[in-house]
Symmetry: C2
Subunit: 471 residues, 2 copies
């Protein structure tokens, strides 16, 4: 039956391959070695960082990020990428590889670039899986219930930091429009995982304040992903065109809403398909086909792959296979998501903010400015709550501060798009780290925590930020 496909024959004797294929075949073991060694370094760094962070009572994802900084271009130079003038000679991982393979300089460069490309794509697939998992965990029903208060808080929490951040960067620091918008957008995120974990520890998850914070954080996620899709697209074209902005905002919203509406119809079909499959991977493979297809469409219509993955997660959360899928996606996320966080840290060159170097001071000022806007811009959201006399406005504002992994997604995508200057990129990462570090103690103070051991009111550990946390 196969021979029916035959269209033409080829000579029996082996014909010489063109140059590229030869280069590939010769270096393919070295590329695989490079990828395997990179993954070993990434997993080791991520796990050690997470465990240390957890023991110090900080969110694990922060440990993963800081471990990335340590193995990356700022310090150990193990995980580095061919950008900003970095060559194979700068990579200590390549030096290790050279002990085993004696590659020519040209082959070494080829291997370095190829393995970096593979790790970059794996990191992108990692963030796609992360957003797919977040989508799976976000309950559409819950989103509808949290109501108008949370929506107002979320909108204020997106609008104020975005406007203050973008405006300030352009007016005070003369940053060009596109990177300024990108940095402003990175300020809009709220990490539901970190906040809800602390609220749960304080026994405040079911309080009025807690409900508003969690609801607003969920809505914030959705708004943040739309903002990111718009901003990242602007970064790709490199110019701001009013029609384009309108297209992007409408497009992203329509894409998300359309997916959810169509998804309602697709639900039953998906469940039916899954039920009829008899071979291994009967749930996970159809789910991945759907998620990757949606990610492809998101990317192809010049929005973002993660928007598609998030929409796919929202849709599949409504199916009967949802619980099984939650279980199956965990080990896959466990091995792919750390690649994203570690490489975000690894790419961030903290040396550009070394205060000992005079020309770095402007960058440092930007970092300080972003952190101030990040904190104040969210604290004001507490005063957006109306008709709730006696509510703890400080607690709500402080609860919205941590940026967590959504802020990092902005930094990572900004870095990959090449639109952010190095100091701006590093400032965003430091802003994310600091807001995430500060939120837990601030929140305890705002709620007047007496230090009593908490009761776990609700298991929200798999929500968002905790994608990297509880085991």
């Amino acid at each position: 039956m196969f021979l029916n496909h035959a269209l033409s024959g080829s000579a029996f004797l082996r014909t010489p391959m063109p140059l590229l294929a030869t280069v590939e075949a010769e270096n393919s073991p070295a590329i695989l070695s490079g990828v395997l060694l990179s993954l070993v370094v990434i997993y080791l760094a991520s796990k050690i960082g997470e465990e240390v962070s957890k023991r110090l009572d900080f969110p694990p994802v922060l440990g993963s990020l800081i471990a990335g900084v340590i193995v990356g271009v700022s310090a150990l130079n193990l995980i580095v990428f061919p950008e900003g003038g970095i060559s194979a000679d700068d990579s200590n991982l390549m030096t290790i590889l050279q002990w085993f393979n004696h590659l020519s300089p040209a082959a070494l460069t080829y291997v370095f670039e190829s393995q970096s490309e593979v790790i970059s794509v794996l990191a992108e697939i990692g963030v796609i899986i992360l957003l797919f998992e977040i989508g799976l965990e976000s309950n559409l029903q819950q989103l509808k219930e949290v109501g108008i208060q949370a929506t107002v808080v979320a909108c204020v929490g997106v609008a104020v930091p975005f406007a203050a951040g973008t405006g300030g960067l352009m007016a005070i620091f003369h940053v060009p429009a596109i990177p300024a918008i990108f940095a402003g957008a990175a300020l809009t995120a709220t990490s539901i995982g970190i906040t809800s974990k602390v609220l749960s520890e304080l026994g405040q998850l079911k309080s009025k304040e807690g409900q508003i914070i969690v609801g607003a954080a969920v809505i914030d996620d959705v708004l943040g992903i739309i903002v990111l899709a718009v901003v990242a697209s602007l970064a790709k074209t490199g110019e701001i065109d009013v029609f384009n902005v309108v297209y992007l905002i409408l497009g992203a919203t329509a894409f998300l809403l359309g997916s959810i509406l169509l998804g309602g119809l697709f639900n039953k079909t998906f469940t039916k398909i899954v039920e009829n499959l008899e071979t291994r991977g009967s749930v996970i493979i159809p789910a991945f086909i759907f998620a990757f297809f949606m990610a492809f469409i998101g990317n192809a219509i010049h929005l973002e792959a993660i928007l598609g993955a998030f929409a796919a997660g929202l849709v599949l959360d409504e199916t009967d296979a949802s619980n099984e899928l939650d279980e199956l996606i965990r080990p896959i996320a466990d091995i792919l998501v750390p690649i994203f966080f570690v490489t975000v840290g690894a790419r961030a060159d903290l040396r550009v903010l070394n205060p000992a170097v005079p020309e770095n001071r402007a960058g440092l000022l930007i970092a300080v400015f972003l952190i101030v806007v990040a904190i104040l811009g969210k604290i004001v959201t507490g005063w957006a709550v109306f008709g709730q006399p006696g509510i703890n406005r400080w607690a709500i504002g402080v609860g919205m501060i941590p940026r967590g992994e959504v802020g990092l997604v902005f930094a990572g995508i900004g870095s990959a798009s090449g639109v952010l200057s190095k100091p701006l990129e590093v400032s965003i990462i430091i802003m994310v780290i600091l807001t995430t570090f500060l939120a837990p103690p601030f929140l305890r103070v705002a709620f007047g925590d007496s230090g009593h051991p908490p009761t776990d009111e609700e298991d929200v550990s798999v929500k968002m930020g905790e994608s990297q946390s509880a085991s």
Copy 2:
């Protein structure tokens, strides 16, 4: 604290990036689109193939492979690789990508090569995970118990097809030594999964014949992996040097035995580490660090990555975390292993065996020769059993026939190394397909099956060949 790592500063203003980084940043969304679309095609093909194969009562992995042939270079040209003169214009997937991204010819070539590289490495990681899983499922204890009979059957089943295949190819067809040895080695494998599934269906798994077949197949796996490591290394250096062959055989054996012995000591440490981890992925990440590190070492000392992964699986199977690991590895294998099987099929250009083209006839004769040797070389193993009067020698011989996925691993690695001529590669794949198709009906005849519905004596569905089967 981060700034301690600062070594030097860099200018605040964004400096222009070198050419390569620009090319990468510009094309990175297109590369991601290419990878996502490739994965969607691979998963769709694999799932449909598996389901059809299963319904026709064939092993699912065969369906995956044939689906790969259909989407690959032989027919639909969706999943093709830049080798043997294939360019981006030959890839229908790239044509689809061009609808969304209007890339220049140079950019298109860059995107095609980059996404092919990523898919190739993902396929290699897929086969590493497959061998890790097989290692996890192979019980060292069981291996020790099956005893001398199974060992003799396994050794005969490796030696006879290897000698007859290699010798015949060199003497009759004048194939050069290295590809002849490679093809001969591909004849040595036995698929434990397919055989044990059929034995279980016939209710013969616990019979004397069944026990010998399964035991021999397990030993065959280990021998096959050592043979593969040796042969693949020969293919890399391109010449046969007696010292090198001795080094490789001793090296591979020592590596495997050494890993198992050291692993006995490492067991407790691993369990202890896993127990003390508190963050997500506490079992899977340490396991992957170990597996990828062993795979890296296997690759780095010029053996094979899969040998290291297999050894890692054998070692971790002895730990307390083994059962949990079996569960966690499944969804990961489900999404990575199909990439390997589909790309093996996709790379195989069946047109080189089109009998309508006169110069293909030599290749066809090779295919016929390999199939005959593959069947006869295993049937003789039945007569290697001694001191067992009245045993069904036909059944034992026939039970050893199916090559399954281990044969495909040979074909895949041979193809990646560039040592096999296209007709020889395709002949091996057809040999694997035919032996695997033929074994189930042959085995029913040899056992004189009356067609009664079977009782499932034992769940061996996760063993080897069934890595792709029961859900």
